[in-house]
Amino acid sequence: MVNLLYTELLKLKRAKMFLVSVIGAAAAPVLMFIGFLNMKSEKPDTSVTYEISFYNTNMYVLLLSGTLLYGVITAYLFNREYVEDTLKNLLTIPVSRTSLLFSKLLMLLIWIVALTLISWGFTFIFGLIGGFDGLTIDVILYSLGRYLIGAVLLFLLSTPSIFVTFWFKNYVPTIIFTAIATMTNVALVDKKYSALFPWSAVHVVANKAYVPEYPVLYSVLAILAASIAGLAATIIYFNKSDIQ
């Protein structure tokens, strides 16, 4: 697995996609900061705390930019072997298909966590620039924890996207799939069903945005069910499919 992970990292050397994803990860903090500047220009006396800033940015990442961006990364990581016609080379090496799959999943997790930390870092820096209040060690640790929980949960939800990628062997269906998930997130914001739809449930769990109608366990189960179903479908399909 170490060798597989090493090769996955090597494949990203000089890849423009990493830089593009960093720009994508900066989108939510930048938009939040623009919103802050706008508010300051209208109501100069209003103060913004780090706690609110971290919460809002994380919410935007989990419900909007992250769902879409991580979907694009997933499509890139898993579809590039088809696009660059390298899968046939990897599978004529004595490496099992399942090991290959898990090494890519591990790479995806590292990438998502890195982008999450970049989002957090931008939020932190913009807070310094904007002079946000309430910067304490507790706020830093708590927000980092929430960001990382959100990242792991969104990572778990990458498996249905991987299945769509393998099935269609194309970027477009995966992007459409994640765009639909993102639009559904938007439609369900502040509604009780947000706790049951796996992608919006990530925000419910990670940001403790619980709804009174459904216990948080339902949200966790919804995420796990989608993740396990996606993983099972992916493993079965990938192991059974012919490499043309």
Binding site: T7, K11, E84, N89, P94
Partner: protein, 306 residues
């Protein structure tokens, strides 16, 4: 000679269409086996099955005497391959692409990558990204990747596809040297007869998924050399006369009264007279002018090879 590749009743169907139909292929140790057929004949599907990329609908594959699907991981260590065009990560250099294979194949020798690049003369531009490689360079890098771990068996699917004549010549030279210097068994597929003719010592001709013929090139050339074929009443006596009277030694007694003479083309009247004057009845005389290409075209039922 032990068989390195042996398929039995190998079949692959897609819906109603049989891409490969009960293929019995045998490649002996140390052979360069030319797998010849038109585009769409089933060559690539067969090769993908041999490498475990496609599961057969029916039939068995034995490599090095072991069942491929029971011992796939161990067997793949002993094989190097190119399947159609070589796919690479274009954002990496040639050496970095090979490093991926070296790590996953467990090749620890420090000079292995440089050695492989040297074999294909790609060691002089270490910083060039594969995205900037020409088609020929990519195919050469594909060969470097295939031989990086010193395999015993090399499976090459149309390795010269898309190359210019110089590139084709270069790849041919490489394959020949690998066979001679490293004593590899090589299966090479192509739809171009002259290419296979210059490399292979055994060929299998595949058409519409079926193996029509598996024969050595030596036998095939003999069979298709320009010759005179006499149907005579006594082939032993005829042979004796050829040697004694005309000093002809390039002939073949093929049984049932058939005798082939590979020299003295154009002097069939003199040979006929010699037989008749010595009491041998000649009931038929044919002059073969088949070229190998004509033979293949006949075999696959018309059209062209390519």
């Amino acid at each position: 000679m032990s068989a390195i590749i042996r398929t039995t009743g190998l079949t692959k169907t897609y819906g109603d269409q049989k891409a490969v139909d009960r293929l019995d292929l045998t490649v002996g140790q140390g052979q360069i086996y030319g797998f010849l057929g038109r585009n769409g004949a089933g060559k690539t599907t067969t090769i993908r099955m041999l490498l475990g990329l496609i599961k057969p609908t029916e039939g068995q594959i034995e490599l090095f005497g072991e069942n491929l699907f029971k011992h796939k991981r161990n067997l793949l260590r002993r094989i190097g391959s190119i399947v159609e065009h070589s796919g690479f990560y274009e954002n990496l250099t040639g050496a970095e692409n090979l490093l991926i294979n070296a790590r996953l194949m467990g090749v620890h020798k420090k000079t292995a990558i440089r050695d492989a690049l040297e074999i294909v003369s790609l060691h002089q531009e270490p910083k060039k990204l594969v995205g900037q490689y020409s088609m020929g360079m990519k195919q050469r890098l594909g060969i470097a990747r295939a031989v990086l771990h010193h395999p015993e068996l090399l499976i090459l699917d149309e390795p010269t596809n898309g190359l210019d004549p110089i590139g084709i010549k270069e790849i041919r030279r490489l394959i020949k040297s690998l066979a001679e210097e490293r004593k590899m068994t090589i299966l090479i597929s192509s739809h171009i007869l002259p290419e296979i003719e210059q490399l292979a010592d055994q060929i299998g001709i595949v058409h519409q998924g079926r193996l029509l013929e598996e024969v050595s090139f030596e036998e095939l050339r003999k069979r298709n050399r320009k010759h005179l074929e006499f149907q005579v009443s006594d082939d032993n006596k005829a042979a004796m006369l050829l040697e004694k009277e005309l000093d002809i030694h390039d002939y073949e007694v093929r049984g049932e009264g058939k005798i082939r003479v590979y020299s003295h083309i154009g002097r069939q009247a003199a040979l006929n007279r010699l037989f008749v004057e010595n009491g041998i009845d000649v009931s038929r005389l044919t002059i073969s002018e088949d070229r190998l290409e004509d033979y293949f075209i006949k075999l696959i039922g018309g059209g062209t090879i390519g």
